[in-house]
Each structure stands twice: as structure tokens, then as C-alpha cells.
């Protein structure tokens, strides 16, 4: 079968199970767009290419599938960079297809030319420039394989216009084998045995789980490990949902805005079992004080994550699912240990600490507290919603005051910290789960970074609910200025916010304003029941801080605002 490059792309996407892509057309991809309507692949037209990538990312995080987006050359491609870097930092499987100028013009400073392969080399798992249509099918097969295996990540394919239009005989490779890429997913038994023995010998163990548990679908194994051997669990921001937030063994999130209990548990533990986490600076605080007295076990599919920041005692290179299952198996073989009794004193002390140091906020009257808004969102959605967040205070409150019980229910830019991520990601997630309640918990600063996607949401009637915790500030930076820069609120006050309600309506969405606490519940209910996209502009206490806080560079034990 002789096909054009554009037809091959469509055939390959179908064979990879892709039925939805996010994109924005342009000159270099117009031939692909000409082909697109002939195939059962739904295309979602966004209003900015960055949003196409975030939407594909949100789709991928919520569904576990590979997200796909399609953009044109030059500015179309460069606009994807933030989205790609966001997905790369958080290990999200994604294939980004960019148009490119015809091969004979590459390097000529042609119209809408950008060396996107060069630009995205450090923020993709891998990328390709396809120079010959004969290589296209294999390249796409490889791209999907690389994106979803090992430590997942974004892969970019740059397609010159003449390659898209050239013809070749099409055959899709059934299997793929790369001599230079063979991720190790099976744990080493000897290492597992050592790890199991460390657990048996520990008195104060803690599991520290990250996003890897979610991306490898191993929440069940994590729970089994924790329950069988009576191990308390904390997770990173990326790991929220990997362990039930209403479980008695749950300590809360750790790190800069983690709970007192989680941070103290890590500070005082004698064994840290890290699973699918990467010892990020926002988690560890001052690195040489992090779990300083503990032996460390680290399960991760990416060897570079192991002993990168903290030297570990038992490295286990494996997919979290196989790693956890193997660890459970090995620990179960150890005889004569009463696990509950062994860890009881520790677990009791942590339970007491959790009771005496809960996450909280001053409920003084008058203003609306943002934390309370998040609690209300949790209550009214019965904890069943998919929550997307922007970045900053809104993100931390969404992490602290919503109880995540299942994986893939929190979509947040953990690594790169991309403002403007949440809303397009929520749109992507809603396409994956049309019947679920999808809520973007936003700030008044962040939401304006991709507010144009209201047009996308309206045009496809994507019923995403945006709740803006509107404090009139770039709140997290303001908080730092208050605490560490003598209240020098330079460039953080948003004097001229738009009328978000009118803005929503201008786009054809619904908008509600909440400036009195007594209106919140009814308005949220109305918003959640509304069959289309909604902005709820909640005027919250302007100078509320995220607490507690470990200042940058301090140890986890040196928390402020406890």
C-alpha cells in the first residue's frame, strides 16, 4: 500500500490506539490537516499551542494513555516547549508532532523555521527529525514505545512538509527493538532481599512514594506493602492519590509545604523506603539533613534518579509495580517477625503527632479562607473529582486540603511548576473522562496564562469548572516576599485583574462571583451542576499564607508556621 507521509501518520496513530489529538494548524502541517478529517481521529483545536501540550498532558495523566498533539513549524513548535518541559519533568508519556519547513529549506532561516529538535533536546526523552518518508512509520512506532516504556516522557517528531507529502510503501512494524534502549523493569532479587531485611530490622520505617507509583499503576501494591508490614506512608506532590488520603497509615504530603507529621517522620525515621520518587529539593529541604539517620531503599525505573541527590543503601532499579510486588514477596518470606508489634510504637507516635499537628488555618470571620474553599470543593465533589491545579498557593492548598484517594485524580505541574498548566490539563482530562467532574483550582495570576482556552472549552462544551482563589496577588511569591523580603511586594500585586465573570460570559461560558462566605456552597453547587464550562471567581483572604513551610535550603525539621 503506497501512502503519503500524512496518510502514514494517520495510519500509525490509529494503530497506536490514538483517537484524540490536540493541535493547532499552520502552513507546515496543512497537508496533515487535509488528511485528518478522513480518519476516525478527533482533533481538538486549542487557542495556543502550549495549551495543546498541556491538554495532551492532562489527558495522559488522567487516563494513563499517551497524549498526542500536533502543531506547525516555527512559533507553533516553540510554543510547545513549556508544555514539553512540564511533561518531561513529571515523566508524562506524550508524542508531540511538529511540522517543519521542507528539507531543502532546513537551515536557511526559512519562514516559520525553528530548530525544534535542537531546542527540545534537553526537555524530551527523545526526539526525531524525519528526513525520509520511508523512516516515518518506524519512527512513530519507536516514539510511542519510548514515550510509554521505562520512565515515561515526551517524544517529539519533527516532520518536514515534503516528507509529509512524499509517498512510500506503508507497513507498520509489529515489534520494536532498540539495541541502545532496554529499560530494566525487573528488580534484582538479591537487592530485594536486602531491602526486606532492612524493613524487618527497622523500628521507625517510612514509605516515601512519588509519581512513579501512579505512572506504573502500582497503588494497589503500595497499599499492600504498607498494610502487610505496618509501614506509614507519605507521598510527594506528584504521588498524591497513590495512597488513600483517608487511610490510617497516611501521614500527608512531605516537603516544603508538607505536613508536620510527614516531615518529622522522615526526619526521625531509621528506614526510608523511597518508591518512584526522585529526592527533589522541594521534598528534601537541606539535603544533608534529609532522613539523616536512616538507611534508604530506593525503587525507581530510572537509574539516574538513584543516588543522584542522596546516596542510598539499597538501590533497586525496577518498575515500581514489579519492585513493590517483589519486595512484598521477599519481606513475607522473613519468618518470626510480628510486623505490627515491631512498628507499633512508631505508628502510634505518628498517629498522635498527626492529631496534635493537623493541617489547619485560622478560621477568623469576615474573609473567605482559600483552604476552606478547597475543603468545600472536596465536600461537594465527595472527593470524586479530578482536580487540576495551576502553580503557586492554589496548588499547595489543593494538595493539602483536598483528600485524594485514588491515583490519577490530581493533575499538577510538580517538577517544572508551570503556571497556566491547570486549565488546559483539565480540558484534556475531561476528554478522557467526559462524565467526571473536572475542576481546575486556580489562582488569579495563573489562570490568565492560558485563559484563552475558554474558547476551546466553550466550542467543544467541555464542562470544566475553574475555581479561582482570587487574592489579587501572585500569592506564593508575595508570601516569600512577606516572610523573607521584608514585605517588599515588588511586582506581585495584580491591581488590574479582569472581571472574570464577565470574561467567562464573553467567551460564552458561565461565570459566578463569590465574595461572601455564605454564598460559597450554593454557588459551587450551581457551578458543578452547570452543563458547561464555568468560572467561579472566589474573593479570598488576600494575604493568607500556605502553612506550614520549610524555607528553601532549611532542613525538614525547621518548619515555619506550624
Amino acid at each position: 500500500m503506497v501512502l503519503t507521509g500524512a496518510q502514514i501518520l494517520m495510519e500509525c496513530l490509529k494503530r497506536e490506539g490514538v483517537d484524540l489529538i490536540f493541535g493547532f494548524p499552520g502552513g507546515a502541517v496543512i497537508d496533515i490537516y487535509d488528511e485528518l478529517p478522513k480518519h476516525p481521529i478527533k482533533h481538538i483545536l486549542v487557542r495556543h499551542e502550549q495549551a495543546a501540550v498541556h491538554a495532551a498532558d492532562g489527558f495522559a495523566r488522567a487516563s494513563g494513555k499517551v497524549g498526542v498533539c500536533l502543531v506547525t513549524s516555527g512559533p507553533g513548535a516553540t510554543n510547545t516547549v513549556t508544555g514539553i518541559a512540564t511533561a518531561y519533568m513529571d515523566s508524562i508519556p506524550m508524542v508531540v508532532i511538529t511540522g517543519q519547513v521542507p528539507t531543502h529549506l532546513i537551515g536557511n532561516d526559512a519562514f516559520q523555521e525553528a530548530d525544534i529538535v535542537g531546542i527540545t533536546r534537553p526537555c524530551t526523552k527523545h526526539n526525531y527529525l524525519v528526513k525520509n518518508v520511508a523512516d516515518l512509520a518506524t519512527t512513530i512506532k519507536q516514539a510511542f514505545y519510548i514515550a510509554r516504556t521505562g520512565r515515561p516522557g515526551p517524544v517529539l517528531i519533527d516532520l518536514p512538509k515534503d516528507v509529509v507529502n512524499s509517498k512510500t510503501k506503508f507497513s507498520y512494524p509489529e515489534t520494536i527493538s532498540l539495541r541502545s534502549y532496554n529499560p530494566n523493569v525487573n528488580p534484582n532479587r538479591k537487592q530485594l532481599r536486602k531491602a526486606a531485611e532492612l524493613i524487618a530490622n527497622s523500628k521507625q520505617p517510612v514509605i516515601y512514594a512519588g509519581g512513579g507509583v501512579i505512572s506504573s499503576d502500582s497503588a494497589a501494591e503500595l497499599k499492600q506493602l504498607a498494610e502487610t508490614f505496618h509501614l506509614p506512608v507519605t507521598t510527594t506532590l506528584m504521588g498524591l492519590g497513590a495512597f488513600p488520603g483517608d487511610h490510617p497509615g497516611w501521614l500527608g504530603m512531605l516537603g516544603m509545604h508538607g505536613t508536620f507529621t510527614a516531615n518529622m517522620a522522615v526526619n526521625n525515621c531509621d528506614l526510608l523506603i523511597s518508591v518512584g520518587a526522585r529526592f527533589d529539593d522541594r521534598v528534601t529541604g537541606r539535603i544533608n539533613s534529609f532522613a539523616a539517620r536512616a538507611k534508604i531503599i530506593h525503587i525507581d525505573v530510572d537509574p539516574t534518579s538513584i543516588s543522584k541527590n542522596v546516596v542510598v543503601d539499597v538501590p533497586i532499579v525496577a518498575d515500581c509495580k514489579q519492585g513493590l510486588a517483589g519486595l512484598i514477596e521477599e519481606a513475607a518470606k522473613i519468618e518470626g517477625v510480628d510486623w505490627q508489634a515491631k512498628h507499633e510504637a512508631w505508628n502510634v507516635s505518628l498517629t498522635e503527632m498527626r492529631a496534635s499537628h493537623p493541617l489547619g488555618y485560622a478560621k477568623n470571620g469576615g474573609t473567605i479562607k482559600p483552604q476552606w474553599v478547597v475543603e468545600k470543593i472536596h465536600e461537594l465533589s465527595k472527593g470524586e473529582a479530578i482536580i487540576a491545579t495551576e502553580v503557586g498557593q492554589n496548588q499547595m492548598w489543593a494538595a493539602q486540603f483536598y483528600t485524594y484517594r485514588k491515583p490519577r485524580t490530581l493533575l499538577t505541574s510538580g517538577g517544572l511548576g508551570t503556571m497556566g498548566y491547570g486549565f488546559p490539563a483539565a480540558i484534556g482530562a475531561q476528554f478522557a473522562f467526559p462524565d467526571k467532574l473536572v475542576i481546575d483550582i486556580a489562582g488569579d495570576g495563573s489562570i490568565q496564562m492560558n485563559i484563552q482556552e475558554l474558547a476551546t472549552a466553550v466550542s467543544y462544551n467541555v464542562p470544566v469548572k475553574i475555581v479561582i482563589l482570587n487574592n489579587g496577588y501572585l500569592g506564593m511569591v508575595r508570601q516569600w516576599q512577606e516572610l523573607f523580603y521584608k514585605k517588599n511586594y515588588c511586582a506581585t500585586c495584580l491591581h488590574t485583574n479582569p472581571d472574570f465573570v464577565a470574561l467567562a460570559k464573553a467567551y460564552g461560558a458561565e461565570g459566578f462571583l463569590v465574595d461572601k462566605a455564605e454564598d460559597l456552597e450554593a454557588t459551587l453547587k450551581a457551578a458543578f451542576a452547570y452543563p458547561g464550562p464555568v468560572i467561579v471567581d472566589v474573593r479570598v483572604e488576600p494575604e493568607e499564607n500556605v502553612a506550614p513551610m520549610v524555607p528553601a535550603g532549611a532542613a525538614l525539621s525547621e518548619m515555619l508556621l506550624v
Binding site: 533536546r121 534537553p122 527529525l129 532498540l178 541502545s180 539516574t304 543516588s307
Partner: protein, 162 residues
């Protein structure tokens, strides 16, 4: 500590950029770099001299291995290996100096690859120590041009115990 890394890569466009970009992006140091094709079609060989403590070198090795186009990475530092560099050096050699320059060249088994009335171009191969010694001895005659290629290195067939 100095480490010599031997890296096999897929010979495709951009592969060197991936390797070098990794070093610059992560703040690792490249002391010298040598690239060339191997006898196997489609495979190139990169030798990189770098420095760092054991943890940094381990991280560099892992990061290199993580690149999709990298096939194999070996740290030759703790192995017995043959290391060579090549230098081309244009030295002032007017009549009065010429005999002495040639004598030193001879002692170090350098080759004379170009001659002019007042200059000699020498080809010097050897490990870093030898090159350092030759350069030190010839410097006083006036070095007009100096080009040094990156280290190439190969594991010795017999790894004898010290």
C-alpha cells in the same frame, strides 16, 4: 579526579549534540573529546575525558546511558588501558636551533611532518605525561602553532593485578 569514558553511540545526526548537551546542561565538565566512526557501520565512538568525584562520575555514566542513542558506556579509569593523544606543533627552528629541536624530537620519537627554513612541524603521540614533557622542552624554541586532539583510549587485553 580525571576519568576517561569510552562511549559507543548510534551514528546519527545530532548524537554528538545530545552527548555534549548533557554535559553542559547538567554542569559536568569536558576536558577533552574525541569522536570517530568504528568499523561497524552506523556506530561511532566517543572518548570523553572528564573529572568529578565518584558520585558525579556515576551520575554522568547513568545519564549517558539514558540517552536513547547511546549503546554502551565504559569508564576506563579503573581499568588498565592504553591512552594516546596526538599533537601537531610548529616550533621555531632557525639554523642555530635546528639540531637541538631535532634531537629532542628524536628522543621523544616525534615525527617531522613539515619543514621550512625557520620552522619544523612535529607530530607527537603519547599519553598526557609524555606530551607535557615534550611541550615543556620545546617551549623555549618558540611554539608558533599548537593543535592537540582529544584523548583516545582502549582497554588493555590483559588486566594484570598490580
Amino acid at each position: 579526579m580525571r576519568h576517561v569514558l569510552s562511549i559507543l553511540v548510534e551514528n546519527e545526526p545530532g548524537v554528538l549534540s545530545r552527548v555534549v548537551g548533557l554535559f553542559s546542561g547538567r554542569g559536568f565538565n569536558i576536558e577533552s573529546l574525541n569522536v570517530g566512526p568504528t568499523l561497524e557501520t552506523g556506530v561511532s565512538h566517543i572518548t570523553i575525558c572528564t573529572s568529578g568525584d565518584e558520585q558525579i562520575i556515576e551520575q554522568i555514566m547513568k545519564q549517558l546511558h539514558k540517552l536513547i542513542t547511546v549503546i554502551k558506556v565504559v569508564d576506563l579509569t579503573h581499568l588498565q588501558a592504553v591512552e594516546r593523544e596526538i599533537v601537531l606543533m610548529k616550533v621555531g627552528a632557525e639554523d642555530a636551533k635546528r639540531a637541538e629541536v631535532l634531537r629532542i624530537a628524536d628522543i621523544f620519537r616525534c615525527k617531522v611532518v613539515d619543514v621550512s627554513p625557520d620552522e619544523l612541524t612535529l607530530e607527537i603521540t603519547g599519553d598526557q605525561g609524555k606530551i607535557k614533557a615534550v611541550v615543556a622542552l620545546l617551549q623555549r624554541f618558540g611554539v608558533k602553532e599548537f593543535i592537540r586532539a582529544g584523548t583516545v583510549a582502549m582497554r588493555r587485553s590483559m588486566q594484570l593485578a598490580d
